[in-house]
Symmetry: C2
Subunit: 171 residues, 2 copies
Amino acid sequence: MSDTVTFRVIGTIHSNHVAAEDTPIQPAFARGCLGWVELRPEFAEGLRDLEGFSHVYLLYHLHRAGPPRLSVKPFLQDVERGVFATRAPCRPNAIGLSIVELLGREDAILRLDGVDVLDGTPLLDIKPYVARFDRVETTRNGWQDDVDDATAQARGRRGFRPPLHVPGARS
Amino acid sequence: MSDTVTFRVIGTIHSNHVAAEDTPIQPAFARGCLGWVELRPEFAEGLRDLEGFSHVYLLYHLHRAGPPRLSVKPFLQDVERGVFATRAPCRPNAIGLSIVELLGREDAILRLDGVDVLDGTPLLDIKPYVARFDRVETTRNGWQDDVDDATAQARGRRGFRPPLHVPGARS
């Protein structure tokens, strides 16, 4: 088996987040953070029918993540955890995963809400969020169960930015 | 910006699925399909605390996907759709995403249920599934809303396999 896998950048995620330390840590804390995806035109045909879904996954390269660490303090708690038990960017493979709200599509542009991603982030894949596959009944949420919602909101939201002009948006 | 991104294989996903056409299409249709992840030992430290979560995301290379297509018929419906509006493997970047149940961990081995992944699949990342981030209230599920649950189960389950011996499993 090959030891590496190479993917191509299929587009760019735009937002008004320019500094990692001011970017909400998850879409759940980024309500009102608008942004958009600009897909490379050669892939635009693949977006057909996506606008029927209210939410989509973005998979992307966390291109400004620091060097990988196996033990990290997550943003929501001051306790060292194994990196795979966190969503921290400094993972062995810096692959980001965000579930964002899809507001609309114009050709190769997707208008989004809940964007917790730095401006200029290289996009790798888009998948529809499907309730029957993806809304899982968890029984345990690990150390996250020890963080109350108010603390999570306060620490997760970080530098919330006012709305951004999105191409084609009706205001 | 670079046009490609290279990731390293951090482990292997094991299952008793050996043929793509007999593999359930999603973990939601793979209840009882046991499997395990074997992480490369140099990354094992990163698994600490993961066992507190009942479900985890696996991100992996769909290493046996066919050539990318922008328009595909999804497994659950006989209508051509843009590939990004489906979870089909033949995407521009063959990145797979599965939410599996974590039954237990022994060092660098994760015992799993709901495995919809081919045996020998190269693993790229593991993230905890966190209800407060990931259980999203969708308002629209696109063409999936036109597929009733009975049809989805019948078409999604495909070649269900009897349980597999998993290392360290208590029977």
